[in-house]
C-alpha cells in the first residue's frame, strides 16, 4: 500500500513501450492485456462459429469434412469459454476491482502478471494442434472414451487447459487476497460494489472447481499416454467418472462465466436508472447462495447416464434458479420508477436481463427429468447454453466495455455506433439461437455436420446461420468505434456517467498509483454521497457518520445534516423521477438533472449523445 507515495517517482524512468507492457505488474495494464488478448480469441472463436453455421446452413456437405468439423466445434467451444469469457471477465475484474475497493494494485502483482502470461501460452498450445497433426476433436467437454483415442490434439488440449486452469487458480487467489486485505478504510464487506462481490464469489468457485478439472485432465493424460485405466472399463475403470469430474468443475464453471456479468449489470443499472440498487443485501446473499448451490447440481448434465440420483439433482437445479430469480426481480425493481438513460451500457444491461431470462428458463426446463431425457444432446441444449453465454456473458461483457471504456482510456465510445452494435447483436442473437430451440425439440442432435433434406430443418438452420453472421457483423461497428475513439480526443472526464463507485473518483485513465485521495466511504455508493452532500461535515453523533448504515437509517437523519434539502422529503416537492421507493433506500437519490444548482456548477459530459 506504500505504492501511493512511491509511484510518482516511477514515472521518471524511461523505458521502451514494448518492454514496459511485457514486464508490467500494474493491474490496469495487465487488465488491458487480458481484455485485448481475449478479444482476439473472441474474434477467432467467432470465425470458427461462422464456419460451423455456414456448413449447417443447408443440408449436405458444403466445404468441410467431418474430421475438420469435429475440430472446429471443439476448438470453438474451448476458445470461447477458456480463452474468451474467462480471461475477459478476469481482465475486467483486474482493471476494476482494485479501483472499486480503493486499492493501489492487486495483492500479488507479479503473480498477477504470471496469470496473464499463461493465457497466450495456453492459447498457443491449444491451436498448435493444427501444426502438429490435427487439433482436439472430442468436443469442449472431452467425454471419455471419445477423448481417449489417438491423436496429439487432445494431449495439447489437456496441456492447454491445465495451464489455463492454473492461471485461473492463481488469479482467484489473487482476487480473494486483494478483496479481503486491500479494501480502503471504511469499505466494509457490505459496502462493496456488487461487481466486487461477484468477483469474490467467482473466485471462490474457481478456487474449488478448477483443481478438480485439473485432476481429471491429469487422469485423462495418464490414460492416454501411460496406459492408465481411469476411464477404461477393460482395466477396471469407469468412463462415467470423467463426466462426474468434468461436470463437478463444469457446473460451477457456468456460474464462473455468468456471475461477473451479473456484477456488471448490477453496476450499470443503478447508474443509468438514477436510483440505488434495489435490495443490496438480497443481491449479496443471492450471489453467495448461487456459489454454494453451484457445487450440488453437477449431475443434471448426466440424467441420461442412469448413474445419478435424479430427484436430488433435479431438486437442486430448480433450487438454484431461485437466487437467480431474486436477481432478476431486483434488477427490474431497480429500474422501476427510475429516470432511465438509454445509453449503450444500459441497453446492453437491459438486453442481458431480457435474453438471459430466456436462457435461464431453458435451463429450468432441462431440470425436468423427463423433458431432459427428450432433449439430451440436442440443439435445445446448444440453444440454452448460447442464450446464457452469448445473450448473458457477452451482453454483460459489452455492457462493461462500454461502461468502463472512458475510465480505461479517457475516451467515450460513440453512442450511435454503440446502438448499431447493440441492435445487430440483439437481433442476431435471437435469430441465431431461438430457432435452435425448435430444432432441438424436433430432435436435431448437436455436433452433427449434416442433416437430411427431408427432415424439415432447413429453414430454421438457415435462419440460425443468418443470425450468426449478424452477430459476426455486429463486432465491426464495435471495433471501428474503439478505433476512432482511441484516435479521437480523450475528453470523457473522470465521471462521465455520474456514477456511484470509487473507480470514478480518480482520473481517466487512473495514474499508476490509482488514487491521490479517497472520498470518505460511508455506504456502498461513496461517490454519490460525496457529490450529493451526504457526508459533508456531519455531526459525529448521527448514526450514518459512525458508519452504521448504508441507507436505511439515513432516512431519519435531519435534512440539514445531509447538506441540502431533499425533494423526496417535501410533501409537495415530489417529482415524477423521484418516487417514494427511492427514498426508502437513500433519501437523497433525486436525479442530478433536477438539481439545477449542482448540475450547472460542473461541466459534465455525462450525456454522450450531446457530444459534438
Amino acid at each position: 500500500m506504500a505504492t501511493t507515495t512511491l509511484a510518482p517517482r516511477a514515472g521518471t524512468y524511461r523505458r521502451s513501450m514494448v518492454y514496459e507492457w511485457l514486464t508490467t505488474t500494474d493491474h490496469k495494464k495487465i487488465g488491458a492485456l487480458y481484455i485485448a488478448t481475449s478479444f482476439l480469441f473472441f474474434l477467432l472463436g467467432g470465425v470458427y462459429a461462422l464456419f460451423i453455421r455456414a456448413e449447417l446452413a443447408v443440408p449436405g456437405l458444403q466445404f468441410l469434412d467431418p474430421e475438420t468439423y469435429n475440430q472446429l466445434f471443439t476448438i470453438h467451444g474451448t476458445t470461447m469459454i477458456f480463452l474468451f469469457v474467462m480471461p475477459m471477465t478476469t481482465g475486467l475484474a483486474n482493471y476494476i476491482v482494485p479501483l472499486q475497493i480503493g486499492a493501489a494494485d492487486m495483492a500479488f502483482p507479479r503473480i498477477n502478471a504470471l496469470s496473464y502470461w499463461m493465457i497466450p501460452l495456453g492459447g498457443l498450445l491449444l491451436f498448435s494442434g493444427y501444426a502438429l497433426g490435427g487439433a482436439a476433436n472430442a468436443g469442449w467437454t472431452g467425454y471419455a472414451p471419445l477423448s481417449a483415442r489417438e491423436g496429439i490434439g487432445i494431449d495439447l488440449w489437456i496441456a492447454s487447459l491445465v495451464l489455463l486452469g492454473t492461471s485461473s487458480i492463481l488469479g482467484a487467489i489473487n482476487f480473494l487476497a486483494t478483496i479481503f486485505k486491500m479494501r480502503a478504510p471504511g469499505l466494509t464487506l457490505m459496502r462493496m460494489p456488487l461487481f466486487v462481490w461477484n468477483t469474490l464469489v467467482t473466485s471462490v468457485l474457481l478456487l474449488f472447481a478448477v483443481p478438480v478439472l485439473t485432476a481429471g485432465l491429469m487422469m485423462l493424460f495418464i490414460d492416454r499416454n501411460y496406459g492408465g485405466g481411469f476411464f477404461d472399463p477393460a482395466l477396471g475403470g469407469n468412463p462415467i467418472l470423467w463426466q462426474h469430474i468434468f461436470w463437478f468443475f463444469g457446473h460451477p464453471e457456468v456460474y464462473i462465466l455468468i456471475l461477473p456479468a451479473f456484477g456488471v449489470v448490477s453496476e450499470v443499472l443503478p447508474v443509468f436508472s438514477r436510483k440505488p440498487l434495489f435490495g443490496y443485501k438480497a443481491f449479496v446473499f443471492a450471489t453467495a447462495s448461487i456459489g454454494a448451490l453451484g457445487f450440488s447440481v453437477w449431475a443434471h448434465h448426466m440424467f441420461t447416464t442412469g448413474a445419478v440420483y435424479l430427484p436430488f439433482f433435479s431438486f437442486f437445479t430448480f433450487l438454484i434458479a431461485v437466487p437467480t430469480g431474486i436477481k432478476i426481480f431486483n434488477w427490474l425493481a431497480t429500474m422501476w420508477g427510475g429516470k432511465l438513460r438509454l445509453s449503450t451500457p444500459m441497453l446492453f444491461a437491459m438486453g442481458f436481463i431480457a435474453l438471459f431470462l430466456i436462457g435461464g428458463l431453458d435451463g429450468a426446463f432441462l431440470a425436468v427429468v423427463p423433458f431432459d431425457f427428450h432433449v439430451q444432446d440436442t440443439y435445445w441444449v446448444v440453444s440454452h447454453l448460447h442464450y446464457v453465454l452469448v445473450a448473458g456473458s457477452v451482453f454483460g461483457i459489452f455492457a462493461a466495455l462500454y461502461y468502463w471504456f472512458p475510465k480505461m482510456t479517457g475516451g467515450l465510445l460513440d453512442e450511435r455506433l454503440g446502438k448499431i452494435h447493440w441492435v445487430l447483436l440483439f437481433i442476431g442473437t435471437n435469430l441465431a439461437f431461438f430457432p435452435q430451440h425448435l430444432l432441438g425439440l424436433d430432435g436435431m442432435i448437436r455436433r452433427i455436420i449434416d442433416y437430411a433434406p427431408n427432415a424439415g430443418w432447413m429453414e430454421l438452420n438457415l435462419l440460425s446461420t443468418i443470425g450468426a453472421f449478424m452477430i459476426g457483423v455486429s463486432t465491426l461497428p464495435f471495433m471501428w468505434n474503439v478505433f476512432i475513439t482511441l484516435r479521437g480526443p480523450r475528453d470523457a472526464g473522470d465521471d462521465p456517467w455520474d456514477a456511484n463507485t470509487l473507480e470514478w473518483a480518480t482520473t481517466s485513465p487512473p495514474p499508476p498509483y490509482n488514487f491521490e485521495a479517497l472520498p470518505p466511504i460511508r455506504s456502498e455508493r461513496p461517490l454519490f454521497d460525496l457529490k450529493h452532500g451526504a457526508v459533508e461535515d456531519r455531526a459525529a453523533s448521527t448514526p450514518a457518520a459512525r458508519g452504521e448504515t448504508h441507507g436505511e437509517t439515513r432516512a431519519d437523519a435531519p435534512e440539514e445534516v445531509l447538506g441540502e434539502p431533499i425533494e423526496g422529503h417535501d410533501d409537495d416537492g415530489g417529482t415524477p423521477g423521484a418516487t417514494p421507493q427511492v427514498s426508502e433506500h437513500a433519501p437523497d437519490a433525486t436525479p442530478r438533472d433536477e438539481r439545477p444548482e449542482r448540475s450547472e456548477a460542473r461541466d459534465d459530459p455525462r450525456r454522450p449523445e450531446d457530444r459534438p
Binding site: 474449488f208 487422469m219 495418464i222 490414460d223 469407469n238 495514474p511
Partner: protein
C-alpha cells in the same frame, strides 16, 4: 506523474481511529492468506483423485483386485510415514524457534526437516523400484496400479515442491533474512508442509490400511 481529479477534492478522512491503518495491517498476513487459499485449491485437486479411487473401489467386485497382495503396511511405507510425520514436527519446531527470534535453532530445525523430506522421497523411489521389479506392478497394471501410482506420484511431486520451498527458506535462513517479526515465508512453507503431511496420512490410511 501527478493526477488531478475533478471528482475528489477532499483529503483522506479517517472514519474511526481503529480503522486508521486500513485492512492490510489487521488480521492474517496477506501472503499467508494467499498460501492458505492455494492449499484450499490443492485440497480440491486431491479430492478429485480420491474420488476416482473410491469410485473405482465401489464399482469393483473385489478390492484390492486379485493378485495384488503386496500393498500392505510393511516396513518401508510405515517408516516413511513416521518420517514424514516427524518432519512436520520439526517444521513446526522451526516456526516456534523463529517466533522467539532464535535463528540458529530455526536453521537447525529446517535442515532436519529438509533431510527428512529427502529421505521420504528416497524411500518412495525405493518402494516404486521394488514394486516395479519384484512384482511387475506398474501404472498400466489395471485400475489399481493406475490409482496407486497417480495418488502417490502426485503426492510425491508435492513433497518435492515442499522440499524446494524448504531449501529456499533454509538458504534465506542461513543468510539471516528472518527474524521474530519477519518470517512469513517460514510460516507459509510450514503450512504447505503440514498440508502435504496430512495428505500422506489420508493416502496411507486409504491405500495401506483400508482393506
Amino acid at each position: 506523474m501527478t493526477a488531478h481529479t475533478d471528482v475528489v477534492r477532499v483529503p483522506h478522512q479517517q472514519e474511526d481511529p481503529h480503522e486508521a491503518t486500513g485492512h492490510a495491517e489487521q488480521g492474517m498476513n496477506t501472503a499467508l492468506l494467499g498460501m492458505l487459499l492455494f492449499i484450499g485449491s490443492e485440497v480440491m485437486f486431491f479430492a478429485g483423485l480420491f474420488a476416482a479411487y473410491f469410485n473405482a473401489r465401489a464399482a469393483a467386485p473385489e478390492w484390492p483386485p486379485q493378485g495384488i497382495d503386496f500393498i500392505v503396511p510393511s516396513l518401508i511405507p510405515v517408516v516413511a510415514t513416521l518420517i514424514l510425520i516427524l518432519s512436520s514436527a520439526t517444521m513446526q519446531w522451526a516456526v516456534w524457534r523463529i517466533r522467539k527470534g532464535d535463528r540458529t535453532g530455526m536453521n537447525r530445525a529446517i535442515a532436519i526437516t529438509l533431510l527428512l523430506g529427502v529421505v521420504f522421497l528416497g524411500m518412495q523411489a525405493y518402494d516404486y523400484y521394488e514394486l516395479l521389479t519384484h512384482h511387475g506392478f506398474g501404472i498400466n497394471s489395471g485400475i489399481y496400479g493406475t490409482l496407486f501410482y497417480t495418488l502417490t506420484g502426485f503426492h510425491g511431486a508435492h513433497v518435492f515442491g515442499g522440499v524446494v520451498g524448504i531449501s529456499i527458506i533454509l538458504l534465506r535462513g542461513v543468510a539471516g533474512q528472518f527474524s521474530a517479526r519477519h518470517h512469513i515465508a517460514v510460516e507459509a512453507v510450514s503450512a504447505y508442509w503440514h498440508f502435504v503431511d496430512v495428505v500422506w496420512i489420508a493416502l496411507f490410511v486409504t491405500l495401506y490400511l483400508l482393506h
